[in-house]
């Protein structure tokens, strides 16, 4: 029952003394251990012998933010067992422009979209399993394909495949720096067991993610407010490699201050809380800040589209905290959070439990209730135009009185998913230089270059699209350069 496994497939493997070292440690070195990194490594390995993956996390936390992903967005011409209908490349392009605006790199965006078509076949060939429809095919998604078990299961499959292919994977191996000779990257500097060592390769792929877990870096732009942010993904995305790349003259792209954030439970762990910390109660009631005052339209758009804007809104509130209130009529109408909501029989009592001034909260709720004159039945499946009257800010849809005890509240904080800042690449995933031209042998994939395609906003599953497409391109380009 023991399958033969290559000797280097031990899960706890760190860089040790017998590991390759020096100027020519490998044909291709991949920095990072998430989806883009593994796609690059496996693609490169199809063409070259010696491929090394340097994952900075320990084996049991490998995979960066891919751990928390769930599906991949891709264009397709027809239905199959796991997606329904058609999703033309043109439609995906429109969806992307709608969230990210017109100033995206059209060449790379269209390349991503075109290459997305072949992603599912590549994924399957490298071990991915898809989630079957659970409640009849009518429930299949059209734009996104779900992998069975989510991102960590996909990573397990990819790591197993990469190991079986002979890719050498090292854990607990953070890259701290890169060395250059003109436009050629000569080596990566890895820290392992307290020692630094240089590993050189013909080609180097950077797939090490963004800097959203680096609160010091975020503090540069956000001041002390950054200390109140919650990082939804891996604690290992500290952006060290991105910072060294930019320092070495890589051309920057993306708003340095930009991040994607959603409303999460304020009681969530500081790092790695993932999907379960998200709070979906916003459209079902009102949201107030620490002064007990409303600050944005809770019913502006359908929640899946609007959901992503609340992280930023809360980040701009005093203390970076807010409270989502609803009453017993709405309890149980949405996916429950991991922590139960706070509960009280009066608004004043609820304010006490939240540490808010009862008078302020009672006033906000009664003003809100008074502004509701319509009598329709709320319908969360569409914009129902049941709105407040003469209230600022308004609640444009699903507005109904908060009047039926018990009253509930979730405390909210901004939960950062990823940052947009990255390095600019060309269509071979080659990293561009600030002074013009590109580095010869340095390629980038995944979140570290996603800002080329997605400059703001978010489309569910597009991070996996960019990571898979550019992981494959970077792996292929790196292998081509290594053999050329």
């Amino acid at each position: 029952m023991h399958e033969p496994r290559p000797a280097h497939a031990r899960a706890d493997r760190r860089l040790h003394n017998s590991a390759p070292t020096g100027e020519s440690a490998a044909d291709v070195i991949v920095v990072g251990g998430g989806n883009a990194a593994l796609c690059a490594a496996m693609t490169a390995r199809h063409k070259v012998e010696r491929v090394i993956v340097l994952e900075r996390a320990p084996a049991d936390q490998r995979g960066g933010n891919t751990r928390h992903t769930r599906n991949i967005r891709h264009a397709h011409q027809e239905s199959d067992a796991h997606v329904i209908g058609t999703y033309e490349e043109s439609e995906l392009w429109e969806d992307l422009v709608q969230v990210s605006g017109a100033d995206i790199n059209e060449e790379l965006a269209r390349l991503t979209i075109h290459e997305s078509v072949s992603c599912p076949a590549f994924m399957e060939a490298h071990g991915a399993n898809w989630q079957p429809p659970l409640r009849g095919t009518l429930n299949l998604a059209r734009t996104n394909r779900f992998f069975l078990g989510g991102g960590k299961a996909l990573l397990n499959a990819y790591y197993a495949t990469a190991e079986a292919m002979g890719v050498q994977i090292y854990y607990d191996s953070p890259v701290k720096d890169l060395t250059f000779d003109g436009s050629r990257c000569t080596a990566v500097i890895v820290e392992s067991n307290g020692e630094r060592r240089a590993l050189g390769a013909r080609s180097i792929v950077i797939a090490s993610g963004g800097f959203e877990a680096n609160l010091d870096w975020l503090e540069r732009y956000w001041g002390p407010a950054a200390r109140n942010f919650i990082v939804r993904g891996s604690r290992f995305n500290d952006g060290v490699v991105l910072e060294r790349l930019l320092h070495a003259g890589a051309k920057a792209i993306g708003d340095p201050k930009g991040f994607h954030a959603v409303a999460v439970d304020a009681r969530a762990p500081r790092f790695d809380g993932g999907i379960v910390t998200r709070i979906d109660s916003v459209p079902f009631g009102i949201v107030v800040n620490s002064q007990g005052v409303r600050f944005s339209d809770e019913g502006q758009d359908l929640w899946p589209r609007r959901y992503a804007s609340w992280g930023r809104l809360i980040a701009e509130q005093p203390g970076q905290v807010a409270y989502s209130l609803f009453d017993s009529k709405m309890h149980g109408r949405f996916i429950p959070g991991v922590n139960p909501p706070l509960k009280a029989s009066t608004i004043g009592e609820l304010a006490g439990a939240l540490g808010l001034a009862p008078i302020a909260l009672e006033r906000t709720v009664s003003e809100f209730n008074r502004s509701l004159t319509g009598n329709g039945r709320v319908d969360f499946s569409q914009l129902d135009h049941l709105s407040s009257n003469g209230l600022l800010p308004p609640k444009s849809n699903w507005a109904q009185r908060i009047d039926t005890p018990d009253f509930y509240a979730y405390p909210l904080r901004p939960g950062i998913t990823f940052t947009y800042r990255g390095v600019e690449v060309d269509s071979d995933a080659r990293v561009k230089r600030e002074e013009g031209g590109t580095f010869d042998n340095l390629f980038a994939a995944g979140e570290v270059m996603a800002g080329n395609v997605l400059t703001k906003g978010y489309l569910a599953g597009i991070g996996m699209t960019i990571g898979t497409v550019f992981g494959r391109i970077a792996g292929k380009s790196a292998a081509n350069y290594a053999t050329g």
């Binding site: 936390q61 991102g151 197993a160 379960v276």
Partner: protein
């Protein structure tokens, strides 16, 4: 009892699962969980007994240790299952004894041996354990039929009674009323799911057992244990028919129906139990706990030894070893019967009840969707 603690921690973990839902494609536990926004104790018990320990969810979980959420459904749901079985014991002291696992079994078997040997010495004489017995009724020359069948029947009634009470309690706790449960389609579908181990495969080609690699070994070994047990049961029934209806006393010839059926069953159980024990020995240690080891291992060892002594008895029934092997075999069977309602043996009762409950719920869900004109 620890049931309360286990149920509480299981509820904490399941609530994390219910707001994540990434695992919903693996097995029936997650869609059943998604039908609920709050989890009563009975819900936790129901979900725990739906779980076949395929472990796919553990390896897919971003919230497993070292994450502070420490989600590990295979272990916590297994602990709730174990507590479900033990709940049938009348006192907590007995429950503590029940937790002693193999030591308990060894002690029970030893006591059984003492009683049997004392009885044999008194009833059949001191020589009956060491001389060969041949011809019809050979076994009964050592242990008279009444003393074999009487206690056997009593133990059988006891096992059925305890398991019936357990099933009744389970249905009460999961609010499955008798009128609901008498849904023939649900009973049949759940029966098919139980026999084919539908949920053991975790939505893949096999389960991730004993390590994080899809494997069919546990799937096949389960068939051997279950099929072997069914055949041994059948052999006993045929033998009873031979004796009571046809008037032919055992031992039966090697090519007779009861011996062939029983031998195939016995060998299947020996292979199945040994293989299962091998898997448990090589299991991912993060996915097991002391009480699960007690529960599974003690059952597998007792069943395996019962089969082994049975086969040895068959092999050496013509020799002077017959007497001592018979006594040993009966002592092993006694332990198997006495412990059965509280070990892994009992799982099929609760598992089937949970599968029926699941079928009833999903049928209701489909009906509700249809009446709404779509999902």
């Amino acid at each position: 009892m620890q049931l309360v603690d286990h149920v509480q921690d299981a509820r904490r973990q399941l609530e994390i699962c219910n707001s994540c839902r990434y695992c919903e494609g693996y097995c029936g536990v997650f869609p059943a969980l998604e039908r609920r926004t709050e989890l009563a104790d009975g819900d936790v018990k129901f979900l725990a007994n739906m779980c076949h320990d395929c472990r796919a969810c553990y390896y897919a979980c971003p919230f497993a240790e070292p994450h502070e959420f420490a989600v590990n459904l295979p272990v916590i749901l297994g602990q709730v299952r174990a507590a479900t079985y033990r709940e049938q014991l009348p006192t907590t002291r007995l429950a503590a004894v029940a937790r002693a696992g193999l030591r308990r079994d060894a002690l029970l078997t030893f006591i059984g041996l003492l009683i049997l040997v004392a009885t044999v010495l008194k009833v059949s004489g001191s020589s009956s354990l060491v001389v060969a017995h041949v011809g019809p009724g050979a076994f009964y020359e050592v242990v008279p039929w009444v003393l074999m069948a009487g206690p056997g029947l009593l133990l059988g009634v006891y096992v059925v009674t305890v398991l019936s009470i357990g099933a009744w309690r389970f249905m009460r706790d999961t609010e499955s009323s008798p009128s609901q449960v008498l849904d023939l389609q649900a009973l049949a579908t759940a029966g098919w799911e139980a026999l084919t181990l539908r949920w053991l495969k975790g939505g893949e080609e096999g389960c991730r057992y004993p390590q994080n690699r899809v494997s069919r070994s546990r799937y096949y070994l389960h068939f051997l244990v279950f099929g072997g047990f069914a055949l041994a049961f059948l052999a006993t029934a045929i033998a009873a028919f031979y004796q009571e209806v046809l008037g032919i006393l055992p031992p039966y010839s090697l090519l007779s129906a009861p011996v062939i059926t029983g031998s195939i069953g016995g060998i299947a159980m020996i292979i199945g139990c040994t293989g299962m024990l091998w898997l448990k020995w090589h299991t991912d240690r993060r996915l097991t706990s002391d009480e699960l080891v007690e529960l599974d291992v003690s059952f597998l060892v007792t069943l395996g030894l019962s089969s082994l002594t049975g086969m040895l008895l068959l092999a050496f029934r013509g020799s002077p070893l017959l007497g001592s092997l018979l006594v040993l075999h009966l002592a092993c069977l006694g332990t198997l019967y006495i412990t059965a309602p509280y070990t892994k043996f009992a799982h099929f009762v609760y598992r089937y009840a949970a599968l029926v409950r699941n079928r009833l719920e999903s049928a209701r869900e489909i009906a509700a969707q249809a009446s709404e004109g779509g999902p």
